[in-house]
């Protein structure tokens, strides 16, 4: 089987009348989903060429899943753009993609018309097309497994978001290993927390479509109403949660597990940031028989490259390892001189090689050169590696432990954010003279300090017009001047100390 649609169709043949996707108001069987997607593909293909990127401009829903598959049937690849993003950011993404076709639904149609001028805008709620089997087959015959499936944008330190392109081959490789390793099967109900522009959702969507499991979409606003959220998870018999750490912590912070326990959940696979032991223990206590797994990896290597299954009898001493590589992934540490580190407790940069590597950043040659390199350990033939920018070390059991960042990238509420990108946006505001963004990891708070004649309220409002809400600092503080280090750099530590000491 060559592309993700082959796997999807194989599942559709086996589990015809089983529910493929359930969301709040609608359910769809595998057979219905296949028909709907082929119908959409037959229409969309009229407007695109092979491997063209198509923007999907809507929130997560059954329509969205149908659009993804429809675009793949049409020979294109999809990029979900969150309609709640500020217009400027949406335009930046659209300019990078140079995509001519936008797919949206009734709910977002008007705003799509406003933002994407001169583009072909397709409203999925209005498509009524006969399936053109012949045409779809002909498109399929032209595809290879290295053709892209999706493009996910992440924060870029240069101020422009970077679109990571992932191929059929990487997804097929990863999802087969992932579902086998954690025993995801047709009787599972996968409760999807992650937004669809996040690669955590790739695991939900394709683990379902590769095995015949059911994808249960949780609407975003449920996360503001934790009792409803738990009821929804429980009433739909969810068995599997592949969630961002911050979302699991949201439930425990809201004391959700004192309200009800999702008893049927037998596996919780978490990623995105370091799991606080306190929260993990709360979850494990309430779900004594469930398997908990810490998985690690940046979007560039297709979801995850290492995993560690939590051992309930082990005392973790506050650090849960990111573990060992998934099958068919090469994960290793390089020191400053590009020599491999093999012994415990020495710090190195985590590097990854294998089929899991994405196709790089869309339309961004410079970033590709900076991050995807020839493996310095191999002088004999072409072996591409991705340098994650994350530091790691081996523990005494030979498992990898995450040990911080090389640069100013942070993980906040599951989002990967370059502090420099926020700083660049703040500096664009006229009256700001200088600024610095600092993340307080312990308190999970994002700070923006600045010098300039503008009050912090106005600055926050300006900023939220340009950045997604999770990138707007929670606290914005006006300072007279910045303390400097001996080397004349802004002293981030001193700024935070001054702040907390008033």
């Amino acid at each position: 089987m060559l592309d993700v649609l082959d796997y999807f169709e194989n599942t559709c043949d086996k589990y015809i009348d089983k529910y493929a996707v359930i969301c709040e108001k609608k359910k769809i069987t595998y057979k219905e989903l296949k028909n709907k997607s082929m119908m959409m593909g037959s229409y969309i293909q009229k407007f695109i060429d092979l491997n063209d990127p198509v923007i999907v401009f809507m929130n997560k829903d059954i329509d969205t899943v149908e659009s993804f598959l429809g675009i793949l049937y049409a020979g294109g690849c999809y990029c979900l753009v969150n309609p709640e993003f500020p217009e400027e950011r949406i335009k930046m993404i659209s300019e990078t993609l140079k995509s001519n076709v936008i797919i949206t639904n009734n709910e977002n149609y008007d705003s799509a018309i406003n933002i994407f001028k001169d583009k072909k805008i397709i409203n999925v709620n209005n498509i009524n097309e006969k399936i053109d089997y012949e045409r779809l087959l002909s498109i399929k015959s032209k595809k290879i497994d290295l053709d892209p499936v999706y493009i996910n944008f992440t924060s870029g330190s240069t101020g422009i978001p970077k679109g990571v392109v992932v191929s059929n081959r990487s997804i097929i490789d990863f999802i087969n290993v992932f579902t086998n390793e954690f025993n995801i099967k047709e009787n599972d109900i996968i409760a999807n927390q992650a937004p669809f522009d996040f690669d955590v959702s790739v695991k939900d969507i394709y683990s379902s479509f590769f095995t015949g499991a059911t994808l249960l979409i949780i609407p975003k606003y449920y996360f503001s109403n934790p009792a409803n959220l738990l009821d929804y998870i429980i009433d739909n018999d969810s068995t599997t949660m592949i969630w961002a750490v911050s979302a699991l912590c949201l439930i425990s912070t809201f004391h959700g597990l004192d309200y009800k326990i999702p008893n049927k959940v037998n596996k919780i696979i978490f990623s995105g940031e370091v799991m606080p032991i306190k929260h993990l223990n709360l979850w494990m206590e309430k779900l004594p028989n469930a398997m908990f797994v810490n998985v690690y990896g940046p979007t560039e290597i297709t979801c995850n490259c290492t995993y560690h299954i939590i051992d309930r009898n082990y005392d973790y001493n506050d650090i849960i390892p990111i573990g060992k590589p998934f099958k068919n992934e090469r994960v290793f540490l390089l020191d400053k001189d590009n020599k491999e580190i093999k012994i415990p407790n020495l710090l190195g940069e985590i590097c990854v090689a294998g089929t899991c590597l994405s196709l790089g950043y869309f339309n961004n040659e410079k970033q590709n050169k900076d991050h995807f390199h020839q493996n310095p350990l191999n002088n004999n033939y072409f072996e591409r590696i991705y340098r994650t920018g994350d530091y790691g070390k081996y523990n005494l059991d030979g498992e990898l432990v995450f040990s911080g960042r090389k640069d100013f990238q942070i993980k906040y509420m599951g989002h990967r954010i370059e502090l420099e990108e926020i700083e660049r946006e703040i500096m664009k505001i006229d009256s700001v003279k200088r600024c610095v963004c600092i993340f307080d990891e312990e308190k999970q708070k994002l700070f923006g300090f600045y010098i300039g004649d503008i009050d912090n309220k106005t600055l926050k409002i300006e900023l939220s017009k340009k950045l997604p809400i999770y990138m707007v600092p929670t606290k914005i503080v006006n300072l007279e001047n910045f303390p400097l280090t001996k080397n004349g750099k802004i002293d981030r530590k001193q700024i935070m100390e001054n702040y907390y000491n008033g």
Binding site: Y221, A227, F254, H255, K445, Y470
Partner: protein
């Protein structure tokens, strides 16, 4: 109640808290903001807000949030 308004102003300045009565239903406060808000309220007012109380109705206006805090203080 002034302290509560201050906390809200810091988290989300783009709202007129004197008049707004649909903070959650009008999507002025998203889950992320509510999460920060509850952590701050629990720290500041030394209360615990149980899950069943985290419903839009209790967070739609400053008055409602304040009523909730008072109620939790009495418990």
């Amino acid at each position: 109640m002034d302290r509560l308004k201050e906390i809200l102003e810091e988290l989300q300045p783009e709202v007129d808290y004197e008049t707004c009565e649909n903070l959650v239903d009008g999507r002025y406060l998203d889950s992320l903001t509510i999460l920060s808000l509850i952590s701050e309220i629990e720290d500041e007012f030394d209360v615990e807000i149980p899950t069943v109380e985290i419903i839009p109705a209790n967070f739609n206006s400053v008055k409602n949030i304040w009523t909730l805090i008072e109620k939790m203080r009495e418990d």
